[in-house]
């Protein structure tokens, strides 16, 4: 319990740091990004909306600390201002309409990469120096060396343009409206394959190597020798004895890698014009839509922090040592 409270405190501080960063960035930047932004939208807004925006970006005369407190209050009420590029939708609405796609893409590829990568790692460590152990790690390091977006483009070119097997961009075909029909779900899945595949390809190597290395340390333990001496089936030793204990670091990295997946999704979404918040983040930057940029950044951070807290709770369940100390 103390452990969880400490972690929770840490996440609150981390989130506060992000809000503070968000608050000060537009105020301390050299040049004037905010007036650049205003010059393009002022004509289409009502005066009170312009006023609200001015306040959001510190273009009012109140003292800094007063602005700061007001800003934090607004964030916690979920009010992140109005999107400029998708005027007049509020930022929260724009994010809400797109976060689902990122969760679908990131979640699917993360789960596949984690399960497959850990499984390969377990097998590689179990058969040290055999085919799987000698061929896969260097191969996966090599594949992982390619930039995310480049692999995405290569996959797009190969399977989308040249072979024409899979759709090139977007999350579903134009003309199709979201529904729970089989046709729509199939269409979404077909659009998901390429982006998810590239994320899995790039990230799987890290999981495999991490698992392999802890697994090698675990298999050297005495209780494994004991299990062998008792004559247990190899599969039982491998999964229930060795892998089970080697799993803990992987659980920790699962939390850490969430941020990585969101980042990777940003590049992948850009290449495939996938309508997630990563792609939206980039378009908002290009459109000088600062409220939306900041809103998306805060949302992503909050999501990653929350997910990490969940991982901590699971960790307490898995590792009794944390509960005792």
């Amino acid at each position: 319990m103390v452990f969880l409270l400490r972690r929770l405190g840490f996440y609150v501080i981390a989130f506060w740091a992000c809000i503070t960063l968000n608050f000060f960035l537009p105020r301390l930047m050299p040049g004037d990004p905010v007036s650049r932004m205003f010059s393009q939208v002022q004509s289409q807004m009502r005066p009170d909306q312009v006023d609200a925006l001015r306040r959001l970006f510190g273009l009012d005369d109140r003292p800094l600390w007063e602005q700061y407190i007001a800003y934090i209050g607004k964030i916690f009420r979920g009010d992140m201002g109005i999107s400029l590029s998708r005027f007049p939708s509020p930022v929260s609405e724009v994010i809400g309409s797109q976060i689902g796609w990122t969760l679908l893409l990131g979640g699917t590829s993360l789960i596949i990469a984690v399960i497959l990568g850990n499984f390969l790692g377990i097998l590689a460590a179990w058969r040290r120096g055999k085919f799987l152990d000698s061929v896969f790690p260097p191969l996966l390091i090599f594949v992982g060396s390619f930039p995310y977006f480049w692999l995405a483009m290569a996959a797009l070119y190969l399977f989308g343009i040249t072979l024409g097997w899979l759709p090139l961009s977007h999350a579903f075909s134009t003309g199709l409206s979201p529904s729970f029909s089989l046709k729509y779900i199939n269409d979404v899945a077909a659009h998901l394959i390429l982006p998810a595949l590239t994320i899995v390809l790039v990230s799987i190597g890290g999981w495999m190597l991490g698992m392999r290395n802890t697994m090698i340390a675990t298999t050297a333990e005495d209780y494994i020798t004991m299990a062998r001496a008792k004559g247990l089936r190899p599969a039982r030793i491998m999964f229930q004895y060795a892998a089970r204990n080697a799993m803990l670091p992987s659980v920790t990295s699962f939390g850490m890698s969430l941020g990585f997946v969101v980042g990777g999704a940003l590049l992948t979404e850009t290449v495939f014009a996938y309508p997630g918040i990563g792609y939206q983040l980039l378009t908002s930057v290009q459109a000088l839509d600062y409220p939306l940029t900041q809103g998306i950044f805060l949302t992503i951070t909050a999501a990653v922090l929350a997910a990490n807290f969940l991982v901590d709770i699971i960790y307490v369940r898995l590792d009794p040592r944390v509960r005792v100390s």
Binding site: P147, G210, G259, G263, V285, T301
Partner: protein, 312 residues
Amino acid sequence: MSLTDSTPTATTTAVNPTVQVPEPPVRGRVAHGGFVHGILTNKKALFGLAILVVFALLALLAPLLAPGNPSDFGPEASLAPSGNHLLGTTSKGQDVLALTLWGSRSSLTVGFTVGIAATFIGCLVGIASAYFGKAIDEVLSLLTNIFLLIPGLPLLVVLAAFLPPGPATVVIVLVITGWAGSARVLRSQALSLRSKDFVAAAVVTGEKAWRIMFREILPNMASIVMSTLLGCVIYGIGAQAGLEFLGLGDTGSVSWGTNLYWANNDGALMTGDWWVLLPSGVAIAVVAFALAMINYAVDEITNPRLRVEKKG
């Protein structure tokens, strides 16, 4: 991604904090020559070093190999690789080989600058954290963990969006997002050295804090620093490419990232000009792979457990 998280490119074993950190070699027992010898007799390390040297030479010799400004438009547009243009031309008539050669200058410079700067900050924070302990450790660890947890690429995008564009911005932004991973690894290593006798002896003899940190502790964790540096350089090169591919870097310069940005912008994929996209991406991958190989070798040399037992 690389970027990005955990440290975005923490796919190599050495940067992965979950890997068991080898016992630090105690001074005297493993001489410095042992490590250099290990590197020079390790196949993976030699392979990686050779690739790096080739790329460094090509970058240095770019003005001789491909004279003139590589981004000048030419009359021969969208040509497939041939004798005249070994790697073909872009839709604007630029020679792809020249772009790739010149691009290596910016990519390698930024990558290594970011790597060195991030490792330096990581060393400073990590060792200070381990050496002073108590409140300083709490604060520095908190800071490190916050930076580790904030998703790297989105932070990169937000920072790049607000800072004025230019090469310095790219470096600064990449260092800000990249140092935390190395600080964490170096702290845990420094922590185990902190409790060693020779550090206690140095404290008792009244040596200055910075001297103990950088003359006593740092040399004893050289191999970890080395693999952190390699990891940071990989991160730097990959993240720069990612940033510039998104059009948030220094689009006026020629680097592997901007090459890919322009290729994508000019629709090289749709028109089927695959040769425009191939070289820069492969160059990034090969350099990153070479660095990862050296990293792998450093790991093997310093952590005997990971070495494959020799038969017989």
